[in-house]
Symmetry: C2
Subunit: 322 residues, 2 copies
């Protein structure tokens, strides 16, 4: 490494400048700083703040097996063809079982890996409660400030993760597919209420018409006011690219609606409140961790297990010196 | 309501006594106090602490559509036939779309609803990050102290929720079924590493042999030491009850192994550490919420959205007076 490149690695402004100029390694390093909560993160966030607010953040979620990664790849191709700069943050449980070999669908996206206007990154979250909420918003900020027009946040699974993605994205794209259990299961998992756009993927398979009909019925049960956004259902076959233009158009329409209705600012302010609170809470947690009492957690847990103490009394003891 | 019953409602000891004697309404009220973080919770937790540690907590998770609720119902019937007292805490995203009508599988469990040795409760978590971690451990403690032998914690979906269930349960039962996407999807979702026992449900359907074979192959890729527990794969057809005795026997074997290996205490101490930390963190969060600075969160979020402030600086301002 030359002295100049070493200096560039250390200097936030130089890293940001290089990333803006299309240096993929500089960008990767910025995102790594986020993931590691590095000390340089603060000056970086301060430096980029004025440049944020331009990227359209699209959350992509759905059950395992619906073809989320293939959809993400097809959307990347679409945006790329339009000359946009596009990022993908894939939030993936980092299982020891998935240490690369099983991530075939990531590999499918690698066709974009040599394109410096496409940035793809798997964010590790395993073991963190609310892990998505920690690093992902900051990584989004970086991609936004660097000049990415569209950022897809792809998350595996349903449940907590999908609640979190709804709080991160401007537009939530929910992927469904026929043959993965019935639509009542989909409704149970709570995805209907967070979806801004549905991609009914694998639409060439049997059952897709029924799935669309069932989703329509369920959406009709929800009450929409006159100016409300009604989530469109777009049939896609991501593997062939069929329906992707229509899907992108639906996403664009939602963004236009967000801007016109004032919802965009509302969503982003809610997101900022969440980010600020999470950082403040992390700071409080760290302060608590630095208390002498925290080293007593093991002992307190033993007493709780033995029935000698209840968890509330234990928490009081833990915080006693704060 | 009589004066005596009003007094009983207010008095933690009386509530606990009534619940122990089989009063289902008293028990339901205790669990409600947990869900609402009521002030009476602390004396209740203090009173029950010495009686905890006896129930075997079985976490039940798996993708939508594998038949988790039917499995839970079949296990309840099995334990009930053995004379055990059994609780089910179903952790369910409380979507406005699922306000009762779609919860057909809950209804299936209602055959046990009039049996005072069976307690079934849906815990609402929607909108809470880490919601499962908040109320469920305390509800588990109550069922444990009241004298429930087995408690099933059923969670919908994969992802964060399943990481959380692994931290709550003595034994993690992962339900899989053929035809819901391939086993690589299952591995991607990270369930292999948390499973203590697999129920290969709907085993009368095509593809179940292949699913078992694929899971065996993937489990063989994991390295087990000589004394390690190797998760058994038990074929079940919960709808007919086939395989349920074998499944319960596998769960019992795991509990015996936990006790003999010392892992039971390790898991429970880890669980207690998590509980204590969560309560302490909630307390810190509350203190932060009471700071004058917290009322400024909206204003700070606006400045962040406008690019005038970064979220870290905003968090600093929020905490400035703490």
């Amino acid at each position: 490494m030359t002295a100049a490149s070493a200096a560039r690695r250390a200097d936030p402004d130089a890293l940001i400048g290089a990333a803006r100029d299309g240096d993929a390694r500089a960008l990767a390093r910025l995102v790594s700083l986020v993931e590691n909560s590095a000390p340089q993160l603060r000056p970086i966030m301060q430096a980029i703040a004025p440049a944020t607010g331009h990227a359209h953040v699209v959350g992509l979620t759905g059950s395992p097996g619906v073809g989320k990664s293939t959809l993400a790849g097809a959307l990347v191709r679409h945006y790329r063809d339009q000359g946009h700069r596009v990022g993908v943050l894939a939030v993936d449980p980092s299982s020891p079982f998935t240490g690369g070999a099983l991530l075939g669908d990531r590999v499918r996206m690698q066709q974009h890996a040599t394109d410096d206007r496409v940035f793809i990154r798997s964010m590790a979250t395993r073991g963190h409660l609310g892990g998505l909420a920690q690093a992902t918003p900051q990584a989004l900020r970086i991609l936004d400030a660097i000049g990415f027009d569209e950022v897809l946040v792809e998350t595996v699974g349903v449940g907590q993760a999908e609640v979190e993605i709804a709080s991160l994205a401007d537009t939530v794209l929910v992927a469904v597919a026929p043959g993965l259990g019935d639509s009542i299961q989909a409704a149970k998992a709570g995805i209907l209420e967070i979806a801004d756009v549905f991609a009914v993927n694998k639409s060439d398979r049997p059952g897709s018409q029924e799935l669309i009909r069932d989703l329509r019925t369920m959406l009709a049960m929800a009450r929409y006011g006159p100016g409300d956004w009604k989530p469109p259902l777009v049939p896609t076959t991501a593997a062939t690219g069929a329906g992707i233009d229509e899907l992108a158009a639906a996403i664009d329409s939602h963004r236009d609606w967000l801007a016109a209705s004032g919802q965009l600012l509302d969503r982003r302010q809610a997101r900022a409140r969440g980010e600020i609170s999470a950082i403040a809470l992390g700071e409080l947690r760290q302060r608590a961790g630095q208390l002498p009492g925290a080293s007593r957690l093991d002992e307190l847990a033993e007493r709780v297990c033995a029935g000698k103490l209840d968890p509330y009394a234990a928490a009081d003891e833990l915080l006693a010196r704060s």
